[in-house]
């Protein structure tokens, strides 16, 4: 939904699309590996990792600006 709205507003360019396309193989690799783990991982340890990562990277972004 939001990419469509952004495109309608003229905020999408060919370079955005090209960059996304170049990153698709990396995305596929990650998603395919998750197929092996999603039944086994309850999610909690990984979620805590994601949230801690998010706090650190968000803080880096704030400090850099």
């Amino acid at each position: 939904m939001s990419p469509a709205v952004l495109a309608a507003a003229g905020r999408v360019s060919a370079s955005h699309f090209g960059a996304a396309l170049m990153l698709v193989p990396a995305l596929v690799a990650g998603a395919v590996v998750s197929r092996l783990t999603h039944d086994r991982v309850g999610g909690r340890p990984l979620r805590v990792f994601v949230l801690l990562f998010a706090i650190v990277s968000g803080a880096v972004l704030l400090v850099r600006n």
């Binding site: 939904m1 939001s2 990419p3 709205v5 952004l6 507003a9 905020r11 999408v12 360019s13 370079s15 955005h16 699309f17 960059a19 996304a20 170049m22 990153l23 698709v24 193989p25 990396a26 995305l27 596929v28 690799a29 990650g30 998603a31 590996v33 998750s34 197929r35 783990t37 999603h38 991982v41 309850g42 999610g43 990984l46 979620r47 805590v48 990792f49 994601v50 949230l51 801690l52 990562f53 998010a54 706090i55 990277s57 968000g58 803080a59 880096v60 972004l61 704030l62 850099r64 600006n65």
Partner: protein
């Protein structure tokens, strides 16, 4: 993009795809701050584009677990929020947008960590949809309100709804 920067971004995308496929959240939380630092032009558009194939795949895999009623109400709220997010994106200067991304990332993560257990109702679904629409359109990060609403309802439900939501 230099090769080093591309390799760093590709690694982040791979890890993030794994995390999202496993837990149902986290793709944007990992990729958005890294893109904002290394290739700010690509936020949020390329990030949102990458989420489409990822979530089509997860939605297909987890279709059985989808909460249809919750998904409908969240979509209503999300549509309204998307317009608000577009307004923010076109109004804010890029440096302010980066500050917004940093702040949203931290707030979302802290809220997800400390929120108590509750049973969501219709108003909660719509509100989560509105907040997501605003933040995903402006910054690429939209999943945390959904994670908050569904975090005590099981990982499969969260994965399927998260995926359905992003894929449409």
């Amino acid at each position: 993009l230099s090769l080093t920067v591309f390799a760093l971004i590709a690694t982040a995308v791979m890890v993030a795809g794994f995390v999202q496929g496993t837990t149902g959240v986290g793709f944007a939380l990992i990729v958005a701050p890294i893109l904002a630092l290394l290739a700010p032009d690509l936020v949020p558009v390329s990030l949102l584009m990458l989420m489409i194939p990822l979530n089509v795949y997860v939605a297909w895999r987890e279709w059985k677990a989808l909460d249809h009623s919750g998904a409908t109400w969240i979509t209503v709220g999300r549509f309204l929020g998307t317009l608000g997010g577009l307004w923010l994106l076109t109004t804010l200067a890029p440096s302010l947008l980066n500050i917004l991304i940093g702040a949203v990332t931290i707030l979302a993560a802290v809220a997800t960590l400390v929120a108590p257990s509750f049973t969501p109702n219709r108003q909660v679904f719509v509100a989560a949809g509105v907040i997501t629409g605003v933040t995903e359109t402006a910054t690429g990060i939209g999943g945390p309100p959904l994670a908050l609403v569904y975090q005590h309802q099981g990982a499969a439900k969260l994965r399927s709804l998260s995926a359905f939501w992003w894929a449409n």
